[in-house]
Amino acid sequence: MTGPLIPLGYIPEAWNNVFAVLLGMGFGFTLESSGFSSSRKIMGTFYGYDFVVLKVFFTAAITAVVGLLYLDQIGWADFSAMYVLPTYMAAAITGGVIMGMGFAMGGYCPGTSFCAVAIGKIDALLFSAGLLVGIFIFSEAFPLMEKIYESGNLGALRVNEALGISAGLFTFLLILIALGMFWVATIVQGKVKKVEY
């Protein structure tokens, strides 16, 4: 956990792995119960017959950000002290394209593929094997890719800071965008031929 309970010593560090397992189980359970262990469901977003992936992840994002900002307002969390991963622009775009291609071809993202392995899907087994091969190749070829990996570093960037607006206003706009997308997605879903799976 990134904090504050373990780094400040409220909970001994030995609990780190226990929390990791519990959180992982919760995450896996949620993915499975949302139907994300089916590659057909995930690919629905790509072909336009099922937008549940888009809805779930955007709902998660806006719920989390609204919750965090309110906790920050009442002083239970310090939004400014939150760790933000640095943005590597070129690396993010390259990685995003590769990940997206893998996503579209395999029908899984790494997390959901393991969920699907857990319920015994053969395609997920192959996907996970490919994932491990990919990790191996990446690790071995890292010196070749190091330049791309570290290119376009913009530091710990927050979108609202880059746009020059407050976090609250950005969140509000994000909520509007998300709801608008849900609405459009529902309309598209109604027009596209239903796929039974």
Binding site: I6, P7, F57, V66, Y70, Q73, Y83, P110, F172
Partner: protein, 216 residues
């Protein structure tokens, strides 16, 4: 459209509007240059070695002595009960955990008071309260407390009171041999009774500095 979705959407929009309306909390907890200057001009940030000695002897639980010298020097000699936070790890998570508690008086010390003052200014700027500097530092502490400096016969009774206090303190730190004086060179000797017993530091540095991985 499902009524439930409409209600949830309305709730989210309301929450979003609330975030826009609510005043933004000031994230800048640092002192302004003016405030910092005021604080630096205030001599009350310095405390004497005698006062610290008195509080060490009384085992004052609200006293935290933060030694900002390098770990090597700290190993050779340190004040009893002091915690070593070298300058290069001042802003680490572990040191912030030591310095943040508000009910404690954090006293910085170094060889003299220059490094300690620098550390003090950093933390003052971060708006950490109850921080002080031990005037004249560890060297001053040895010179005033551990060395025998009898007052002149012409000095007033306060000087004699202070002298007897320092003598008693020396006795406390050295055990029975109160009359021997000590200095830094002697303190390098491991078996020297003048070296106060160092308390074992329980500075736990988190080894896990990596953020939790995200993704789906």
């Amino acid at each position: 459209m499902n009524k439930r979705y409409l209600i949830l959407s309305a709730l989210l929009i309301l929450a979003g509007i609330g975030l826009v309306i609510l005043p933004q909390k000031s994230k800048n907890k640092e002192l302004t240059p003016e405030e910092l200057l005021m604080a630096i001009k205030d001599p009350s940030r310095f405390v004497s070695t005698d006062l610290i000695t008195d509080r060490i002897i009384k085992k004052d639980p609200s006293l935290v002595i933060v030694d900002v010298r390098p770990a090597k020097e700290f190993k050779i000699f340190s004040l009893p009960g002091s915690v070593n936070i070298p300058m290069d790890s001042l802003l680490s998570g572990a040191s912030m955990a030591i310095l943040k508690p508000e009910g404690k008086d954090k006293v910085f010390c170094s060889d003299d008071d220059i490094l300690a003052d620098q550390a003090w200014q950093i933390f003052k700027r971060l708006n950490i309260s109850n921080i002080f500097i031990m005037k004249t530092g560890v060297n001053g502490w040895i010179n005033t407390i551990m060395k025998d400096n009898p007052p002149l016969p012409t000095e007033d009774s306060r000087a004699y009171d202070l002298y007897s206090f320092r003598k008693a303190a020396r006795q406390y730190f050295q055990g029975k041999d109160a009359t021997s004086s000590s200095n830094r060179q002697q303190n390098d000797n491991k078996d020297n009774p003048a070296v106060p017993k160092k308390e074992k530091l329980n500075l736990q540095k988190s080894t896990n500095t990596k953020p939790a991985g995200g993704g789906c």
